[in-house]
Chain length 209, copies 2
Amino acid sequence: MMMSLDGYTAGPEQSLENPLGIGGMQLPEWLFPLAAFRESHGEEGGEVNASTPIVEGWTDNIGATVMGRNMFGGGPGAWDEDWKGWWGDEPPYHHPVFVLTHHPREPLQMQGGTTFHFVTDGIESALAQARDAAGGKDVSLGGGATAAQQYIAAGLVDEILISLVPVLLGGGTRLFENLGRPFPQLEQVEAIDAPGVTHIRYVRKGVAR
Amino acid sequence: MMMSLDGYTAGPEQSLENPLGIGGMQLPEWLFPLAAFRESHGEEGGEVNASTPIVEGWTDNIGATVMGRNMFGGGPGAWDEDWKGWWGDEPPYHHPVFVLTHHPREPLQMQGGTTFHFVTDGIESALAQARDAAGGKDVSLGGGATAAQQYIAAGLVDEILISLVPVLLGGGTRLFENLGRPFPQLEQVEAIDAPGVTHIRYVRKGVAR
């Protein structure tokens, strides 16, 4: 996940107009110039740098994604069925996506292989369903911070990739908060110095690698 | 400064027994095995790894240090003149150190070239005195977090070296907090992947390097 130097994965006052909160659009600034990013959005050209393998790795061997309601968007409360996520008709997932929510909704099939499934019976159920759907591949935890916190606290996250951005947001949602006790034990696997960002990969202690 | 993954430079409940707060002694765990560290404490042997140049750089071209009262220690309030810092008779600074405090105290000359000066008229005065004393060399901001926050907020810090440790403290003192508005603008200069820690160097935008 992209994180500011002061620990926020989104700025304050997230809204439909400001999905990453105030100042939050500074978090992916390193990403937009990359050829690997532009290509996934049907655009040509762009840079190749130390972030390229990281961005390519986001989708490598991923068979399913789990995300929180806030990341899927559409505001809190009952569903407005017109809301189909932030990503247009062909979301960049191309595999089943399991959205944590308190409000039931029929699966939503999009173009390009992405189907959103809405899971109302908790994080473990969503993970189990995603594992089944992934067919032996990995399950990606898409975010946002609140969903990630719950999975980390439950000891269900094997690997965390932090893209630490040299920006201060001063408020918003922190990833490493509300993690319960005892704290998850993490091990640093690698750190990559890239233009405008440092990528650091952590694994849960005891996870084979 | 050493910082936990959740942003703390010291854990909760700092005290004489627990100068880095609860759990805070995990922050320098990567440091202790290093030959560069052991040598500065008169011990032989130890490891040489990617952290070595970082640790050697801490003292390179440093002519004076500024630190907060809490980092010098001895509790809040009026001085107990028996308290001479955490570092024994020969502190590892070997140059003048300016301690921010509300309580006047005579300079304290230690062995090995370290003299502690107690500054009661604010951060800018302490920095000016340190610059004078440094004789053209750099001034190091030793910490702790509260002093660092004040200097960062005032735009007086040219360079910040974060040693990010894969540990969660869940409470304590955060470095990147209370920084005022507008936020300091930082630029990432380099990131170094070392065993058990990632060192990231930031400069204030606009500072020549």
